[in-house]
């Protein structure tokens, strides 16, 4: 997904001379073709993330569309004020490509695990957030990314992730995609947790349980209309996020349900990382299981709810 996303920056730059790329101190050979063929629009600025955000703001003030790339935690934690003031207050079209969203950097530990990046970005006025499910969806998003007026935080998965998106669904910024039809349950996911949600839904269907999957590729602006619509059809909404439970996808759903306040509301279960820094290493898959974010855990969470409420025999 990362390579696809960066390759798309070069593709877009070939036909639009407003597009520039700014990296921090990325891996050797990153976008080498772009560097070779359009050196005046390729920047590798060193380990100085705060400066990179400000520099991107300056370029954007003059009409350029900068795509900035570095590791997620360094963008969101280190550069918060630059992002808030230089990008969001000025509402500039700078795209932040964040490597290692969620638990991707499992072996590298808490300094590199982006577990609260969405919470940070979601709290900023004018910021937009996207978290595609796979490389093919990333292409569909990137094609329209330069048209988005304000700043965008693009959360990347590890790369080589299974393709679960469907070209028929297309990609409309700000509009979620229903990947599985809704029954008594709706699973809401984003990024690679959509894959886990789809597998969970398929397992549940073997038990005669129809669990819809709503892929929320855009987390801000939030597609509250779909949540309201489906909330009137289901008994349970279960959110699955590779992120702390605070102020991410599940919280966004909770806000919508709370603000809508229809007489009949479904139960909301938030699956996510508890309010703590991860204390294990290993792989992303291992951490997903550890935090009950894999398809089996989703399956069991749904079954437990249905049994505890008497909707299914215990």
């Amino acid at each position: 997904m990362r390579k696809t996303c960066l390759d798309m920056v070069y593709e877009l730059a070939k036909t639009d001379d407003r597009i520039v790329f700014i990296g921090s101190d990325l891996g050797a050979g990153t976008l080498s073709e772009m560097q070779k063929n359009m050196p005046e629009r390729f920047f590798m600025e060193g380990v100085s993330e705060a400066n990179i955000i400000g520099m991107a703001a300056g370029l954007a003030m003059d009409g350029f569309i900068p795509y900035v790339n570095t590791i997620s935690t360094f963008i969101t934690r280190r550069c918060y004020e630059q992002i808030a003031i230089d990008l969001c207050l000025h509402n500039l079209p700078v795209k932040l490509i964040a490597n290692g969203g969620g638990l991707v950097y499992a072996p590298l530990g808490p300094t590199h695990l982006a577990i609260e990046d969405i919470a940070i970005m979601r709290s900023l006025p004018n910021m937009n957030i996207v978290s595609p499910s796979d490389a093919e969806e990333m292409i569909r998003f990137m094609k329209q990314s330069k048209e988005i007026k304000g700043p965008v935080y693009i959360r990347l998965a590890k790369g080589g992730d299974e393709i679960v998106s469907n070209p028929k669904n297309g990609f409309k910024f700000g509009e979620s995609i229903l990947m599985k039809d809704v029954g008594e349950v709706l699973i809401v996911s984003s990024g690679i947790t959509t894959k886990e949600a789809i597998y969970a839904s398929e397992e549940l269907s073997k038990e005669g349980i129809k669990a819809g999957v709503l892929h929320m590729h855009t987390i801000k602006p939030f597609d509250y209309k779909s949540i309201i619509k489906y909330s009137q059809k289901v008994k349970l909404i279960i959110s699955v996020e590779e992120h702390i439970k605070n102020n991410g996808l599940g919280s966004a759903i909770g806000d919508v349900l709370n603000d809508t306040c229809y007489p009949k509301m479904p139960k909301l279960i938030k699956l996510g990382i508890p309010d703590q820094f991860p204390d294990k290493y290993g792989t992303q898959e291992e951490l997903l299981k550890y935090y009950s974010l894999d398809s089996k855990s989703i399956y069991h969470s749904v079954m437990d709810f249905l049994k505890s409420t008497g909707l299914r025999a215990a």
Binding site: G46, N51, G54, M55, G58, M61, D62, G63, D86, L89
Partner: protein, 276 residues
């Protein structure tokens, strides 16, 4: 250099300070000390140096001046009002609920303000981006970024300085208002900046120090930029915080004042006249 910065002010410098006090009276508050050290450099920039047009403030070919030390905004407002970027009466509504002039400048509200500042250490990076943009587009726009001495405690300033040196941005001029007094106390006590000229030189800048209140000297320097071909310029202004009001000069209590009364305002106006 620092011995003669306590010299007299001419009519225009006093008039511009009058406008600052007008804003101060409007908002009953403001960073007087931080504004008064900046008047002469802003005056020289807006009177003689910058290619800008109040009737076409977004012209792509203009020069850009960013007041990175946003708290000195009353000085910038006085120049922008004087140049008719907005009506001078806006100064009376400084910090008012529906005024356009806040305690820190906002680009979306004020014609002639290039970037919203106030959080320190942002302006030079934005200036680097604007300077690179001008180079890519082969425009002659020059970028000026005015920073405070306290402000350059921020690490982000030095990240930006590295970048400016690397890209040989000779269309970028960093201006440091070295009044040697930050909010709490003297810079030499809070966070010593010396050797300041050597620091900027070592980051790839051509550097000059100047009496920041000497209009003739400032003009000489600013009309001959860049200081060196293929290098960004840094100009260190030796200034007096609160310059023009004896009680405020070098007095940290005048970094920012609030709840200013009418009689205090009148006293400020009459003290200004003593400079003539």
């Amino acid at each position: 250099m620092q011995n003669n910065i306590s010299g007299k002010l001419d009519n225009r410098s006093i008039y511009l300070r009058h406008l600052v006090i007008k804003g101060l009276a409007g908002g009953k508050r403001g960073h007087l000390g931080s504004a008064f050290s900046l008047i002469e450099v802003l005056r020289v920039l807006y009177d003689k140096v910058l290619n800008i047009d109040p009737n076409d403030p977004k012209n792509i070919n203009r020069d850009r001046c960013i007041l990175s030390k946003g708290h000195g905004c009353l000085a910038l407002y006085s120049l922008l009002a004087d140049k008719d970027f907005f009506n001078i009466s806006e100064l009376d509504r400084f910090c008012h609920f529906d005024g356009i002039l806040g305690g820190h400048p906002e680009a979306s509200k004020i014609p002639g303000v290039e970037a919203s500042t106030g959080a320190l250490g942002h302006g030079l990076s934005i200036g680097v981006g604007l300077a690179i943009s001008a180079k890519i587009q082969k425009r002659n726009s020059r970028i000026f970024v005015i920073m405070g001495d306290g402000e350059i405690n921020e690490g982000s300033v030095w990240e930006a300085a590295l970048s400016a040196g690397k890209h040989k941005l000779d269309n970028l001029t960093a201006i440091i208002d070295y009044n040697k007094l930050q909010s709490y106390d003297r810079t030499s006590i809070v966070q010593d900046l010396e050797p300041l000229t050597d620091k900027w030189k070592s980051f790839g800048f051509a550097v000059e120090e100047v009496n920041g209140h000497d209009v003739t000297e400032l003009e000489k320097l600013f009309l001959n930029l860049p200081l060196k071909k293929s290098s960004p310029s840094a100009i260190i202004l030796h200034t007096i915080k609160g310059k023009g009001i004896k009680e405020a000069e070098g007095n940290p209590k005048w970094h920012h004042k609030s709840k200013i009364t009418e009689s205090e305002i009148n006293k400020l106006y009459s003290e200004l006249e003593l400079n003539l």
